[in-house]
């Protein structure tokens, strides 16, 4: 284990610190609130000659991901950052990056999608990209955002994966929130990420390669199946990177962060910063003698189905908190809920009542009392033996 140096940093800046240490070959990015600090800080590193990176200040997010695709196919280590509508504008290119198996690392500082226009946190941006073939990691804190950014490089570039990685954190809540962040020594990060050695590269002129060929009805299906095969089997590789980084940093890097789950009867499953609020409330409930627990998946794609089932199978009632709506899904439930209930069904578990709470859209505060009300609801569901309303809302005026 190596000692970290602790600095007061906001979450966006902690990501740019990680990018400075990674020192990628190319960064192509466009400013958008609340991600802008990432691009600004990184531009300063370029201007000061602290990094060797070629920075491409593109004219849109679509162009950002387009340039990343070119640079990655060329054989460079490539990173970018965006949020909200910027991610939506990249959408076409997300699929292309994944389909070409380009190990690009993208930081998303999660923000609500328009319309109406809103610059604050929710997960509708990244959730809209959940089927794009990217690995998705969600950070609870600025510390995790820093740690995940570094690990994302190793995951993306693993020769058995070659998949792009989206590393997400909550806009403003952690993106702008200043906290104590442990930064590992530059040399250790340099060693950890190592050198990127592309298998195929446009700039390897001695072995010319055609990238992005036209795939007709006779091959496209097989190529898509290969893509699902690689992400389906990516979990052990991702975990091995997590473990290696855990050893280096001394900070636990689980697939699922669990609190109180050894004997929890009532559990909340939630991504990102709200896990912290949930744990704080859970502690108070434990003091009252109620066996509550909190599960925070760090990894959302691939969906850690088996780990999640293992974590919640002995609970009496479970709540899945979603910071996004999947419009038109059954009762317009959230995506994390859909995946959780699908996992339960796949495992043949039907007796466990699971309810969905939509919260925090457009940056609406999620308060300890809201979390408390969820635990109360779970107790009632378990005692009544009735699930009741499947999709509920927290902090909403109705």
């Amino acid at each position: 284990m190596v000692e970290s140096k602790f600095l007061p940093l906001d979450g966006a800046t902690s990501v740019s610190q990680a990018m400075r240490q990674i020192n990628p070959d190319v960064v192509a990015a466009y400013p958008i609130t609340p991600q802008t600090a990432v691009v600004q800080n990184f531009s300063q590193y370029v201007a000061d000659g602290i990094v060797n990176t070629e920075f491409i200040p593109v004219e849109s997010e679509h162009a950002a991901m387009s340039a990343c695709v070119g640079a990655s196919a060329a054989g460079g280590r490539v990173m970018t950052a965006t949020a909200a509508n910027g991610l939506a504008l990249m959408w076409e290119m997300l699929y292309i990056a994944a389909g070409m198996r380009l190990p690009i690392v993208l930081t998303v500082v999660n923000r609500a999608l328009s319309s109406p226009l809103n610059i604050h946190c929710d997960h509708s941006d990244a959730m809209g990209a959940r089927d794009s073939g990217w690995i998705q990691i969600y950070a609870e804190t600025g510390q995790e955002a820093y740690d995940n950014t570094i690990q994302a490089i190793r995951i993306a570039e693993h020769p058995d994966l070659l998949l792009p990685v989206m590393s997400c954190q909550d806009g403003f809540i952690t993106g702008h929130g200043v906290e104590r962040v442990g930064i590992l020594p530059d040399s250790d990060i340099k060693d950890f990420v190592g050198e990127y050695k592309p298998r195929y590269a446009l700039l390897n002129i001695d072995e010319p390669v055609t990238f992005g060929a036209w795939d007709f009805t006779d091959y496209y299906f097989e190529h898509k199946r290969q893509q699902s095969e690689v992400i389906n089997n990516s979990l052990p590789i991702i975990e091995s990177v997590f473990k290696e980084y855990e050893k280096l940093s001394g900070r636990p890097q689980p697939v699922l962060d669990m609190w109180g789950m050894d004997d929890a009867e009532y559990a909340i499953i939630v991504l990102s910063s709200t896990a912290g609020t949930s744990r704080a409330v859970a502690r108070r409930w434990r003091e009252k003698g109620v066996k509550v627990g909190v599960v925070k998946p760090r990894l959302y794609r691939p969906f850690p189905e088996q780990y999640l089932l293992e974590a919640i199978k002995n609970c009496k009632a479970v709540a899945v908190l979603d910071r996004a709506i999947s419009f038109g899904a059954p009762l317009s439930q959230g995506p994390l809920f859909t995946d959780t209930t699908a996992a339960l069904y796949n495992a043949g578990i039907s007796g466990l009542p699971v309810v969905n709470y939509i919260f925090g859209l457009g940056g609406r505060d999620i308060l300890p009392d809201h979390i408390g009300s969820v635990f109360s609801d779970l107790q009632k569901i378990a005692s009544d033996g009735q699930r009741g309303t499947m999709v509920r809302y927290l902090g909403l005026r109705e």
Binding site: D25, V26, A28, N52, T53, E54, I56, P57, V58, E59, S60, H62, A63, S66, A67, C68, V69, G70, A71, S72, A73, A74, G75, G76, V78, E92, M93, I96, M100, A201, L202, L203, N204, I205, P208, V209, T210, F211, G212, A213, W214, D215, F216, Y219
Partner: protein, 314 residues
Amino acid sequence: MTERIRISLKDIVNNEERMASGHRLCGGCGEPTVMRMILHAVEGPVVVSTATGCLEVSTTVYPTTAWRLPWIHSAFENAATTISGVEAAYLALKRSGKIPADQDIKFLAVGGDGASYDIGFQWISGALERGHKFVYVCLNNEAYMNTGIQRSGATPLGANTTTSPVGDVLQGKTQWRKPFTRIMAAHDIPYVAQASPHNYRDLMMKAKKAFAADGPAVLNVLAPCPRGWRTESDQTMALTKLAADTCYWPLYEVDRGKTIVNYKPREKQPVSEWLKAQGRFRHLFRPANAGIVEEVQEHIDREWERLLKEEAAG
């Protein structure tokens, strides 16, 4: 550029074809001819980025490829941006020593007129403004031919396309074309040229100048589409000559801000010669449409006069 650049047919014949035969472009298509001329004009390694379109789908039907060079297609609108990423990686990898300092690689982005005039316009503009050292080539067949002849910003007034069809009320496209070459030149980049494959020396010379330029360069090249233009496949080169002789498609260049008209027909032919050679304009020769032909002529005259003035202004 005043340096003499030599184009030797002997050299061309002996050079390797970097775009191999066996691709699936139509007989008479102008695109492969233009591409091969341009690739013959480039010396040394070149990486090519191609927009979605006829050239792309016809040359890379998986698992085959016609490209004996590093080649990438990512999407429709972003060939220029994709190559700007490749060029950036080249600079970075050269700096870090992963690419030898004496290794010179050139960069080429290619798109049709739809990819250039319309959907990729912003992407090209951004890449030019950022000053990446690459050449952008618009293979201009004046409509979306890959999707089945739909009008684009490059389609001229009166042309019959499937989205500007001739009907009881409308007689083909109702607008003139976007002055793409001029807009590219307005980016104040080192080199912009308009060319046509019938004059291969002129086209190849321009390609050489474009690759030698100290910054981004753009070539807008007329590339007939027999399917979309409703012409015989053996008329392709003759048509592009007619385009120059009628001043419908002037051959000119803007070299570091200086406009040079490379071909001035001794006797400028009426545009009706150009129009009547193609089925897409057939309806314009109905008596009721005489006004449209006149209007096309007016556009051409105005553009030609403007070009001559620009040249005279130095």
